[in-house]
């Protein structure tokens, strides 16, 4: 993580969060919405590692919880974990998978949906499995996968690879 990242990442996250709450939540396919914040957190983590990923996830989650008047901590917990594991996944997948953003975003979307269902179940509110899987998770997954590559390109342009990271990729093992 560079010093520039400290300024660019929050700005990008704030912009994405505002876009999410004002625009993207109004786009509804079945009962699913595109989750730009989740995609951004995953891609940031892939590009910059687990530390930035988990911090970005926590911030984005907290923002969402505040903005939506939800139980504070749920989104931040889920996105923190997603950011962290996406960062860990990124270091492995960049060498083995030709499509790291797609795989990471897909896994993250499923994990967040199931994790959210679990946490809400623990807190006493439930949703039907068919509703969750069919009408929420599936369309959200498709929409997020559509966002994955454009967001990845944008993030790669805004957060160019550091010399150390580039060297790690060029000379594997």
């Amino acid at each position: 993580m560079t010093a520039a990242d400290v300024f660019k990442a929050p700005g990008l996250l704030l912009l994405a969060a505002l876009l999410q709450v004002s625009v993207l939540w109004t786009i509804e396919v079945s009962n699913g919405h595109p989750d730009l914040l989740l995609v951004l957190v995953v891609v940031l983590a892939l590009v910059r590692g687990p530390l930035l990923g988990s911090v970005a996830g926590f911030s984005a989650g907290l923002f969402l919880d505040v903005a939506t008047f939800s139980t504070l901590g749920i989104s931040s917990l889920l996105l923190t974990l997603v950011g962290y594991w996406s960062g860990r996944l990124g270091s492995i997948m960049s060498k083995s998978s030709p499509h790291p953003p797609l795989l990471a975003v897909g896994l993250a979307t499923i994990a967040v949906a199931l994790g959210s269902a679990f946490l809400h179940f623990v807190l006493g509110s439930t949703v039907g499995a068919s509703e969750l899987l069919g009408r929420v998770l599936l369309p959200t997954l498709v929409l997020n996968l559509l966002l994955a590559y454009p967001v990845h390109r944008l993030v790669c342009r805004l957060f160019p690879r550091t010399t150390r990271a580039a060297r790690e990729v060029i000379v594997p093992g």
């Binding site: 505002l18 004002s22 996830g57 926590f58 903005a67 139980t71 504070l72 901590g73």
Partner: protein, 275 residues
């Protein structure tokens, strides 16, 4: 790890505290700070969302249109089926009323059946009905509708019977004019198959237009007419008495519409099985 713990702590505290608690108050402040941004974002994005909504509605309207067209087609078919069933029900009800009524000939059992083949050409005035020997139908059984006489069975299989119509050139039925006693033989008219003539009526008989012509059902020793007495055939539509003719020529318009026969009744002398 620390962020996870913070998140868990947030969840726990938020969930346990009252709505006036610290986190709730902080959240309210956060929402009030974010609201202007959300409003601005909403205003900026509204035209795009409207455009998206309009497009989505258009796509939805198109699919709705297709679905509704299919529904209309299905309902049209249903309406046709219902109307056909209602018509058939009406016809069968009339037939039942006829069979149970006073005009039904005594000593005959009804075999209601459907016409499965119309006259193949103008020369052969014959139809095929869906009842045969398995239903008790025999050759020379008379065939009627509730309106009147149709013809006679001329051939029969186990499941079908051929009926020679009254309008066939080979048909001849002894008949009388109801209320006058004038009797003769009804046969196909010389011009076309839609009219009949009542021949061999003496000139001194008084017959007027509109009189009803029925089967006479004669009996002479062991011989009897193939047709029972009293089955309506038609109405007198013309009377001609020329000096050169030996008999009065009476034109009869049949009561049965031979062009649209759907259901008929075969009158059998035995106890038929169901068709």
């Amino acid at each position: 790890m620390a962020l996870v713990l913070v998140s868990l702590a947030l969840i726990t505290v938020y969930f346990r505290e009252s709505s006036g608690g610290t986190l709730h108050s902080a959240q309210r402040i956060g929402v009030s700070i974010l609201t202007p941004f959300e409003v601005a974002g909403e205003r900026v994005s509204r035209p795009f969302r409207d455009a998206y909504g309009w497009t989505a509605d258009l796509v939805g309207a198109k699919s709705d249109n297709e679905r509704l067209r299919e529904e209309v087609q299905a309902l049209r078919k249903q309406v046709i089926q219902n109307e056909t069933a209602a018509e058939e029900n009406k016809r069968l009800q009339k037939m039942l009323n006829y069979i149970g009524g006073s005009r039904y000939p005594v000593g005959f059992t009804a075999v209601p059946t459907q016409v499965i083949q119309k006259p193949p050409n103008p020369y052969a005035q014959q139809i095929l009905v869906h009842a045969g020997t398995s239903n008790g139908v025999k050759i020379y059984d008379p065939v009627v509708t509730q309106e009147g006489l149709v013809g006679i069975v001329t051939d029969v299989t186990s499941g079908t019977a051929q009926v020679r119509l009254l309008t066939d050139q080979a048909s001849a039925v002894s008949a009388e004019v109801l209320g006058t006693g004038a009797s003769g033989i009804v046969a196909r008219g010389p011009s076309d198959s839609s009219t009949l003539v009542l021949n061999r009526v003496p000139k001194d008989e008084v017959v007027t237009e509109g009189d009803l012509v029925i089967t006479s059902g004669w009996q002479s020793g062991p011989l009897t007419s193939l047709y029972p007495k009293g089955i309506p055939i038609g109405k007198v539509s013309g009377v001609s008495r020329r000096d050169v003719d030996l008999y009065t020529r009476i034109q009869v318009t049949p009561l049965v519409d031979f062009g649209s026969l759907d259901d008929v009744i075969v009158l059998t002398a035995g106890d038929p099985k169901k068709p």
